[in-house]
Symmetry: D2
Subunit: 154 residues, 4 copies
Amino acid sequence: MLDRQTFKHTTQLRVRNYEVDWQGIVHNGNYLLYCEVGRVDYLKHIGARIDLNSINSESRVVLVRNEIDYLAPAMFDDLLTVCTRVSFIKNSSFAMEGIIERASSRERIVENVAYHVWLDPITKKSKSVPDDMRRLVQSFEGSNCAIEWPSLEI
Amino acid sequence: MLDRQTFKHTTQLRVRNYEVDWQGIVHNGNYLLYCEVGRVDYLKHIGARIDLNSINSESRVVLVRNEIDYLAPAMFDDLLTVCTRVSFIKNSSFAMEGIIERASSRERIVENVAYHVWLDPITKKSKSVPDDMRRLVQSFEGSNCAIEWPSLEI
Amino acid sequence: MLDRQTFKHTTQLRVRNYEVDWQGIVHNGNYLLYCEVGRVDYLKHIGARIDLNSINSESRVVLVRNEIDYLAPAMFDDLLTVCTRVSFIKNSSFAMEGIIERASSRERIVENVAYHVWLDPITKKSKSVPDDMRRLVQSFEGSNCAIEWPSLEI
Amino acid sequence: MLDRQTFKHTTQLRVRNYEVDWQGIVHNGNYLLYCEVGRVDYLKHIGARIDLNSINSESRVVLVRNEIDYLAPAMFDDLLTVCTRVSFIKNSSFAMEGIIERASSRERIVENVAYHVWLDPITKKSKSVPDDMRRLVQSFEGSNCAIEWPSLEI
């Protein structure tokens, strides 16, 4: 169970009618998309110039694993709060956690952990998470986030 | 790493142009949908009359967790093979595993484990997986699938 | 060119990252969905208890035609204003118009006209738009909307 | 009513479970996507190296209008035949028509006309459809397609 107290960043979105399946509840595939909305907004908010869906010339962030627990269904027209944090940064990988709550009741809808790896786009080998990414996350998260600083090692 | 040898059921689908993001690769959210296509086809194939997205009057199958590992990207127009199996059935829960391969090269694209629980739609409490579901899966999977038979216990 | 002055109802939504294609602009298929968000919100707002996507026991509203003009692309993170109105109600049909604008600049993104028909769900024949639907629309739209009242004919 | 006899190109796709709404029928937004699958396949088939969703350095094809008539609903697991043709090429614009049929019964599901314009990506002004596009379409369509040849004018 992810600890809601550790999340500082939230964004809100409303369930749209076409996201609802024939049970009248949000189709399971959409929650991953909502969590991605949260991650993209988080990175924009802390000033990280990386794009979770894109390539740039020097490096590429690749999503390597998603874990998602479905705790309660969201319904049409629900306003949802998507909470996002970076939970750790290791040498070449980092994880972002997400919680989606129903805004009205704070009932928890899903929990998500998304694991990313930094790659060299030419060699396809993993490379260190850039120091400015570490700094931006540490500045925002403070002690909430376990950050390894390989570049500080001797 | 899921063992491809244990998968007897496959279905194929082709990546559609609107599923591809601005890197020219399939957006990560679509792979869960492809795995669901595999699960729905599997259940139809073995003759199980349950609907992973729906309610019926007696019971309801709820997806409670998804784990997905992204191993390689699928591209526009790729023909994909979705391999599906039931890996276990416990008292009130079961898991379905999925592998997506590029059909041409058999390169592995993603691995997925989807966990489901059987609920009583009125009381919302978990209830036993029906015996006919166990029988259909055992008949198809044979010894590949770990099936508990609580109803046979004394 | 639809006349923006005739639209009283607006709703807003933000473009989500996964709705953007590899040009960095919203994939054309999403605009129809955004217009539907506007229509569903409009009908809720005026108090009409019809569901544009659903069946109820007495009658069924069927979307029979969509026309959409793409005037300018929406981009990731754009806040959009979706303007919606009912432009006419005939005996068994009605049309809803939509304009999507970029909220910041009021630049027009798309125009949409969606034509609907009221059907008897058993016989599949068209039937009159219910009088309470006519009343709700007239009350909201006033003289903006051309409403035929067949039930008042002798 | 589009004339099925004039369509030489077909492609097939199967309705996926997550494309179906809570009536058990395909959500209206998906038919436009299916028609786009047909158009992309058509252009690949005739050898046109244009990408309806993309930019290249010299020119850009922009979708400016879609008209779609919904004639009958498609259901989960239906195999659909998407028929595609170019109906006209004018100086800087062209139209592509689509018919979606249920493969089993040839029942017509939707009709679509999609209008495109060729733009100069720098000046944003319309420019002539390239002659090689005209040649490829004429070679495939023969006399079915009304093609203006502005570049042959004196």
